[in-house]
Assembly symmetry: C2
Homo-oligomer: 166 residues x 2
Amino acid sequence: MLTSTATAVQDPFSPDTLALLDRAAAFCTARTSRLTETRRLVLGLILQSSKPVGAYDILDHLRQYQRNAAPPTVYRAIDFLLSQGLIHRIERMSAFIGCAHRLECHHGHGCGHRAQFLICSGCGAVSEVEDSEITHAIADAARKIGFKPHQSTVEIEGLCAACQQG
Amino acid sequence: MLTSTATAVQDPFSPDTLALLDRAAAFCTARTSRLTETRRLVLGLILQSSKPVGAYDILDHLRQYQRNAAPPTVYRAIDFLLSQGLIHRIERMSAFIGCAHRLECHHGHGCGHRAQFLICSGCGAVSEVEDSEITHAIADAARKIGFKPHQSTVEIEGLCAACQQG
DNA sequence: TCTCAGTCGTTATAATATAACTAAAGGCGA
DNA sequence: TCGCCTTTAGTTATATTATAACGACTGAGA
């Protein structure tokens, strides 16, 4: 058994997060994309947070594990994770959250990417929903004016159930 | 009649823009808010553009008329115009466009603020719609999970009718 | 083994936005 | 009109978010 001198910092994640990271690794393997160590750390840091996290917050935490991490380190990982649909960017906050549907649902990995986000101005938490009424309404509205939609951002700011009690 | 030495730059706006600025001035007067000269210039510069404009683009142009304009000059004007609903921020672009409904419709000034934006990745143009299906779908989805919505951002990226021809 | 695509380290800088403090201008009641 | 107070604007500095550019390393396949 190794003792602690010069030992690298332990993997910092909770069992829940570790389980999600395992799913993410499997997901990437299936797509022949590579969840490298840096990418895995960044994803873990995002998943670990109950709120969206900014790139420089991620960087601060990442530096506990990789002393020479720099902004491009984080942004490259973020770009990868976005491209795989493993995280989402919340535009209003310039921050990132894990994708609930990629990693948490048990219905397989094929779910669409038509997510909407509910941002609580009380506690800062963001929940992701996939509401087909919204999705269809958007598609219809676009079609009506001859616009061919490719991707949409829906961010709803307000008060979550818990914060309405306070 | 004054001749041109040291004359201030002429008001730079097209007749269309000037008409909109007149409406905006009336709108502000009615609300007892003040469309000051700087705010009017910034609004004019935004309205004049067919695409969303960034704060520093505005600043560059503004400096033709106010040599000592600085970032806060522009951001203060933007904050005011946003607060009056005279412009919108396009989150995905960190840029601003005039509010079509405040200034262009002839149905009075009371229209709601539940706008959605269609962003063309071909030409960069953004059009604003107010689609009640989308608005209702969002309200319903929020209610379903006990979330009290306050404001929402809907930005749909894709190809406009014209750019689909190309 | 060679090569190529992909990934990462590193430095510098671009682009967007705000803090903080001072001064001027405008509205308003006495 | 005067003085007071609120709003607006000038100015400097800095915070925050994001990308450019270039070289080195790595791992997979020809």
